[in-house]
């Protein structure tokens, strides 16, 4: 089996990273690197990467630490405010829906016009014979089965997708 590491590897790496390679190391180490495939690669790669690191660190333009801290604080506050506002919004929406329902119920109970309209609608619904509608409904369903199925699927999928998206957010 081909070896994948060498016991001298840490010494070579240390010499490269400390800037001692190749001039300021023992001749025995240089001889070893010349003969060892693994250490040869380590010396070449570590030297190239160390040069690149020095070059990049020298030209790195990183934001000021104070600015990064301040931006992080601001963002954390903003996200916390959004998170705190989310349940309030939901509660407000439910409260609004309840208020609208209550208002509707009061209107329905007190309005004579609404009561009479309600009675008329109930009477006309009672007069409709469901038995007569069944063949028509069956024909409609068999004729438009595909779009109806697609609509039913949409009705199931869309709320689930909205729910999952909101859950992820």
């Amino acid at each position: 089996m081909k070896p994948i590491d060498c016991e001298m590897e840490p010494d070579i790496l240390a010499a490269v990273l400390q800037g001692r390679w190749p001039e300021r190391v023992d001749a025995s180490l240089r001889d070893h690197v010349a003969a060892c495939a693994i250490c040869g690669d380590v010396a070449a790669i570590a030297g190239a990467i160390d040069d690149a690191r020095e070059e990049m660190r020298g030209h790195a333009v990183v934001p000021d630490s104070g600015r990064v801290w301040w931006l992080a604080q601001m963002r954390a506050r903003r996200e916390a405010a959004q998170a705190a506002g989310r349940p309030i919004t939901a509660v407000q929406a439910i409260a609004c829906a309840c208020a609208m329902s209550l208002l509707g119920a009061c209107f329905g109970a007190t309005s004579a016009w609404f009561q009479s309209a309600l009675h008329r609608t109930a009477a006309s619904l009672a007069s409709i014979k469901l038995q007569a509608l069944l063949p028509f409904a069956a024909a409609f369903v068999s004729e438009h089965a595909a779009p109806l199925l697609a609509m039913a699927a949409m009705l199931l999928v869309v709320p689930a997708a909205v729910y999952l998206t909101m859950l992820r957010e």
């Binding site: 990467i49 030209h59 934001p63």
Partner: protein, 192 residues
């Protein structure tokens, strides 16, 4: 109505306080840690992404997520590994998104621009190195950089990259050999 508003304000303030308390690190400690790690982390991100501007954006995002993680660390190495793990995951996410956008987006275009003031040989050497690194897989780039630029141990690299320490050694060996060949180092016949 006033009561409801007051309750809302109290809830909001509590959330804000919680968020500030979520930063386990105080400003002074953070700034000292940032000064020690930011340049190295920027270089790592720039090398992973091949884009200096993107590296700066990811650097800020990394430190923000690090602060929000609200974790406690045993020592400086543990803290640093955590930072690099966040950075690695962010760079990976960005790469996945950019792959979804454009499959053939070459890495290293931006980073190849070596700043002026260097001699021609150094510039050429750096360009060759950048091109060779760009031809490695992102994970190979990351492990080589962590090993040879950051001097991280095998265990630390495995921790940062989410790999098993036992599988790291052969992977590192292969990545090193690949880079050596890309840099023009012929396979060696010698034995260790």
């Amino acid at each position: 109505m006033f009561r409801e508003t007051a309750i809302n304000d109290i809830q909001r303030d509590k959330a804000l306080d919680d968020s500030c308390a979520g930063f386990v690190m105080d400003e002074e400690t953070f700034r000292a840690f940032y000064e020690r790690t930011a340049r190295g982390l920027w270089a790592y991100l720039a090398r992973l992404t091949g884009d200096r501007q993107l590296a700066e954006d990811l650097l800020q995002e990394t430190f923000y997520r690090f602060l929000r993680a609200a974790a406690t660390y045993d020592n400086e190495t543990h803290r640093r590994n955590s930072l690099y793990r966040i950075a690695t995951n962010l760079a990976r996410d960005v790469r996945r998104r950019s792959l979804a956008r454009a499959a053939s987006d070459p890495v290293g275009d931006d980073i190849e621009r070596v700043p002026s003031g260097q001699d021609a040989a150094a510039t050429e050497r750096m360009t060759d190195f950048t091109r060779a690194m760009a031809r490695l897989k992102p994970r190979e780039r990351a492990m080589l950089w962590l090993a040879y630029a950051e001097g991280a141990s095998h265990r630390e690299i495995a921790d940062v990259l989410g790999l098993r320490p036992t599988s790291l050694k052969p992977m590192l060996f292969r990545a090193r050999r690949k880079l050596a060949e890309l840099l023009g180092r012929a396979p060696h016949g010698g034995k260790p």
